[in-house]
Amino acid sequence: MLTEKVIEEGGDEVDQAIDREIYDELGELAKYVEATTRTLREMETPLATTADQLPQANDFLAELSRMTEEGTHKVMSLADAIGENRTQIKKALDDIQALVAGKGDPSKVQDRIRAIANLVEQDESRLLDISVALSFQDLVAQRVKKLVVILEDVQHKLLKLVVVFGLQQGKAHTDHEGQGYEMLKQLEQSKTTALEQGLVDNILGEFGFN
């Protein structure tokens, strides 16, 4: 009888210990699930904004390319127009020289001088337009600054993801392939290994290009 009672009491204690252990483990599991759910909820917004920001940044970059192209064409067109005026001015001066030397009607000298004055005035306006057109550089710089901020923000959010999910453990699997990585590598190399014409000529010389 006594033995049975001891066994029974001992069994209850074991059962209680097992129950407590299971209860503790379930508690830990519940905490972990809650923490993970909270983390995922926290990451939801940064991930969504990152997904929004990257296409926007892409559009900004395409816009920058268009702006620089347009600005450059504008400056070149104005420079071409000034060049054409310069040719006309040169011709008018030749005419004046000939008229002064007695070749032709001397009264036309005034006409030629007026024509030159007009052309110079046009060019003054064009020179100012060139300065104004070059302001695209300022617009480009402003947008580039904003893009840098967006990229830094995206980088910050990605780093947060890396930390939260412990992705750094998988660093060995970093993707060093693909067009993006190759372009980045080329950009990096061009900072230090781009050669000047003189050095290029030396290489060409080694291959018989004199």
Partner: protein, 134 residues
């Protein structure tokens, strides 16, 4: 400079319209009167096969068909292979230059360049026979 034939038709190949315009203007300043443009190697090859060109001035980095691929295609074409090809590019790493030389480039100008630099290179290109590997 006297070796240059300014009536020769020149094809400028670059994906950037501004750069094509700059090269075209510089060529005109040098004295060339007939300059045509193409935005990539594929388009350039199509124009070249139409005939009449005496010189190609090409960029390296272009969509569809790069300058290097264009150069190789020119050197592989029986009718085009002796055409002088001047590479005008920002790709100025040693391996790029060697790759271009091996592909049969006539000379190599680094961007940004001056009219004098381009003229000097063109004078050299036409002063000797174009190196052809094909």
């Amino acid at each position: 400079m006297s070796d240059l034939d300014f009536t020769m038709k020149v094809l400028v190949v670059d994906d950037m319209s501004t750069m094509r315009r700059i090269v075209r203007n510089v060529l005109k300043q040098i004295g060339y009167t007939s300059v045509e443009e193409a935005p990539d190697g594929k388009e350039a090859l199509k124009k070249l096969k139409g005939g009449g060109f005496g010189l190609v001035v090409t960029d390296w980095n272009m969509p569809v068909m790069t300058g290097l691929e264009l150069l190789k295609a020119i050197r592989a074409d029986a009718e085009l292979k002796i055409l002088p090809v001047l590479m005008v590019t920002a790709e100025a790493q040693k391996e790029n230059i060697i790759e271009a030389i091996q592909a049969g480039v006539s000379n190599y100008v680094v961007k940004p360049f001056t009219a004098e630099a381009l003229l000097e290179k063109l004078t050299k290109v036409f002063a000797k026979k174009t190196p052809v590997n094909a």
